[in-house]
Every structure is written in C-alpha cells, then in structure tokens.
Symmetry: C2
Subunit: 118 residues, 2 copies
C-alpha cells in the first residue's frame, strides 16, 4: 500500500469515527435529559472508571493503553460538556414552566454546579 | 430507553471506537514506515488541514465542529507520537544494518517496543 492509499483509508476511518462519536454524543445527551428528571450529577467518577476499564479491555494495540486513555479523556470531557448543556437547557425549560403565574420562583430552583470542569 | 440501557449502548460504541482507532493507528504506523524510506517529515500541516476538513464535512451533529476538533487534536497528537516511534525504530534498524557485520549486530536488530503497553 502507498502513502496515498493509506491516507484514503484513514479518511474513510475518520468518517466512521465521526459517525460513532456522534452516536455516542446522542446517547450522552439522552442521559443528560434523563438526569435532569432524577437530579443525578453530570460527573460520576464510578461510571468513568467503568468506561476506561471497558476501553482498555477492548484494546488489542498498536496504541498503548496510556495513549488510548489520553484520547478518551478528551472524548469524555467533550461529552460531559454536552450533557451539562442538555441538563442546563432542560432545567431552564422546567424553571420557565414552573414560573407560570408566579414569578421569581425559578431562581430558588437552580442547584450548584456539580460537574467536573477541566 | 433507561440510563442503564443507554450506558450499555455507549460501552458497545466505545468498543467499536477502539477498533477503529486501532485500525487508524496501524495505518499511521505503516505511513511512518514508508516515510522512513522517503525521508518525509512526521508533521505535515497540509495533510492535517485535510484531516480536519474531512472530519468537519462528515459531522452531522450533535457535537459542534469545535468539540469534534478538540477530540481530533488529541487523536492526531497520539498518532503523530506513534508514527514518530515507528520512524525512530525504523531508522535505528537501518543504522544498525549500515553498521554491518562489524559488531553488536544482534543488539541492533531489536526494535523498540511499539505494541500495546499498559
């Protein structure tokens, strides 16, 4: 295989990666939506441990686990931000709804930010 | 779908992502191998522009382009390091070969570990 052929293959793999990352993002968004109803925090360290363990177990090389972990740290950061947005817009909508007839009620409902920030 | 079901789906997607990232890494490694013969540099800004353009063109959301770019910056960093290792071990092998039968030939044949490390 030439460099040119390998690059065509890489571009193809990147399009597949984007599709998978997008599907993963949609699932994270839906979890954010469900968390708004249950008041679960965005940052759940135990869940993240499971994600990293799953990723390492699936790794057959050639990337060392540590490098794959570096990529996943970034993926998880981005997904967390997305989930936080989803949660915020959800709560904003709920607050607006609760405001209904009365006013100034929404402010009391806002809870402190519990998510981890990088 | 419950949070639990969505997490099962995410774990499945992560295993597929690891498989694609590994295949991408193998292709990058092969390019590193070919670059050693042509003395092309590891860092090629024009090629990286093409990668980012391809990724943005493939993006249909929900991740904003900027967030996807953040993930890709990390992916490219990791791939570049892998390619650099491949190139180094290749050149190391070539240098050892050039040294010829003189001495230390056996030692020169061992290449640095490029496989999975945990």
């Amino acid at each position: 295989m030439t460099i040119e052929e390998l690059r065509i293959r890489i571009d193809e793999l990147d399009r597949q990666l984007v599709a998978l990352l997008s599907e993963r993002a949609r699932a994270a968004q839906m979890i954010g939506h469900l968390k708004a109803a249950t008041s679960l925090p965005v940052y759940e360290p135990n869940r993240e441990k499971i994600i990293y363990a799953n990723v390492r177990a699936a790794n057959k090389g050639p990337l060392p686990d540590i490098e794959l972990t570096h990529i996943y740290e970034r993926i998880i950061d981005v997904m967390r931000a997305l989930q936080r947005n989803e949660l915020a817009s959800q709560r904003h909508a709920q607050a607006a709804e609760a405001e209904g007839g009365s006013q100034g009620h929404a402010a009391g409902e806002s809870s402190p930010e519990t998510g981890k920030r990088s």
